[in-house]
Symmetry: C2
Subunit: 283 residues, 2 copies
């Protein structure tokens, strides 16, 4: 099946896009997480969302949740690894699965974690952002996963079924649910080194020779998520209608620029959705 609008992100921009596209009777899918937005949930107090004064982030999240619930909008808890423009539709890749949509709205927020030294140079040459996608390439090999969230543990476990050795570098605190034969290294990675391909991850206090290195962060930088997307200073380029340089691809919220604020994001999500709807209706 092909959706009219696929929305990547479940923060205020993504949710506002979702409700507006749904009101216009479009068939939508929203990729995100059940917490909606980790950023919002952590906000101690929000005073500048017009109409809702003096609320904490958790309660504001509940109001957003209640809004989408009443409209029958569900969040699909999957992490999109790649979005490919296929001409008259988009293919959204989730590990081994593919979703199709006529338009895409990127509402991915902003990734504060910067790439480490050498990481971007070796991307696609021993460095990757989706371990499950590339697992087959590392059969019988030595792989390291730098995980920024617990979802990365699943990727490590999946990889362990094929690779000979898997090292896991947790960049967060918590209990790690990892296969027994995965080795955890508690050190901070600072550089990717290699020749033609990446072959070494350098830590603050040690280093590790490997065949492949994966960084599993909360969000993937838009320029790797959507090949060909115009990005400037870390923000997706859009015009006033929220359309990107790729036909049928729109963007809204923190990922398109400052200020990083909820109602600004919600307003942009609405504009993106209404323009995606009009793009579909003109087709």
């Amino acid at each position: 099946m092909r959706y009219d609008v696929a929305i990547v992100g479940s923060g205020p921009a993504g949710l506002s896009a979702a409700i507006n596209a749904k009101i216009r009777n479009k068939n939508i899918i929203v990729f995100g997480n059940s917490n909606l937005s980790d950023k919002i949930v952590k906000a101690p107090k929000v005073d500048n969302y017009l109409g809702i004064h003096g609320i904490n982030g958790e309660n504001l999240k509940d109001m957003f949740k209640s809004h989408i619930d009443k409209m029958g909008i569900e969040i699909t808890e999957e992490r999109i690894n790649n979005v490919y423009a296929m001409g008259d539709y988009f293919a959204l890749m989730v590990n081994e699965k593919t979703y199709e949509a006529t338009t895409v709205i990127l509402a991915t927020g902003i990734e504060y974690a910067k790439p480490i030294k050498g990481e971007e140079n070796y991307l696609g040459k021993g460095v990757g952002y989706c371990a499950t996608c590339d697992a087959a390439l590392y059969r019988g090999k030595k792989v390291v996963i730098v995980g920024y969230n617990s979802e990365a543990e699943e990727e490590a476990n999946f990889l362990m079924e094929m690779a000979s050795d898997v090292y896991y570098i947790p960049m967060y605190k918590g209990e790690y649910e990892l296969s027994d034969n995965i080795e955890i290294i508690n050190d901070i990675p600072i550089e990717v080194k290699g020749d033609m391909k990446a072959n070494k991850l350098v830590f603050r206090n040690s280093e590790l020779d490997v065949d492949g290195i994966f960084f599993i962060r909360n969000s993937i930088s838009p320029k790797y998520l959507v090949p060909g997307l115009e990005v400037e200073d870390g923000h997706i380029n859009v015009d006033r209608t929220m359309k990107t340089n790729i036909k049928g691809c729109f963007a809204a919220g923190d990922c398109i620029g400052k200020p990083y604020q909820y109602i600004k994001a919600a307003g942009e999500g609405q504009v993106a959705a209404l323009n995606a709807v009009s793009y579909i209706d003109k087709k």
Copy 2:
């Protein structure tokens, strides 16, 4: 006294600008009306304001009102006739009064009433938008006021103190509180005629020879409100920071373009305010 930020308009864009500027400790003044927005109050149902589902316009207005009340923001019920850029500040004219502000945020909404034939050609040449401002020019003369709201009645009464004859054309239903010697004409104006100056108002069923013609609408077209402001297809030109072509003058909401939606306007009001604040702080 000089305000940091003067906000013209009390719809979602203006109010969102107000709360954001106030949170940043700026000294603000908001010009508008106690109903906040006539457009909102009339909305039967609003489903696309993220966080607040299935509300009617009247109740949404109450939520906005409660928000600004809690923050100690008041609405100054005056109709700005002109905004002049004076170099490092703005002069906002209300009939005989002047307010001063370092920055201005235009959130005037969109005026659906189109000018009638000939009106714009004779603007400043016998046609005006502020009767009280120009009253002195019409001492002992014959003037007609086309009023789109009850505030226009006050302008007519004021003018009657100087002019020899005042005709009032009500474009709305209601009780008219007019001086006894003002003549009401119940007809639809369709064209302004004249030679060097306007001297005739043509109605559907009659015509009237006059020395001056005033149109008192709910909002003044931005290009007449702020001399020198760049306007394209009826919308104020802004960039992504909501700044206009005039330094220190920002705009947000319906007046800068479609879609005409509440949360889009609120988001833009926020962006305008935060950029106005940063403009002030850099001075």
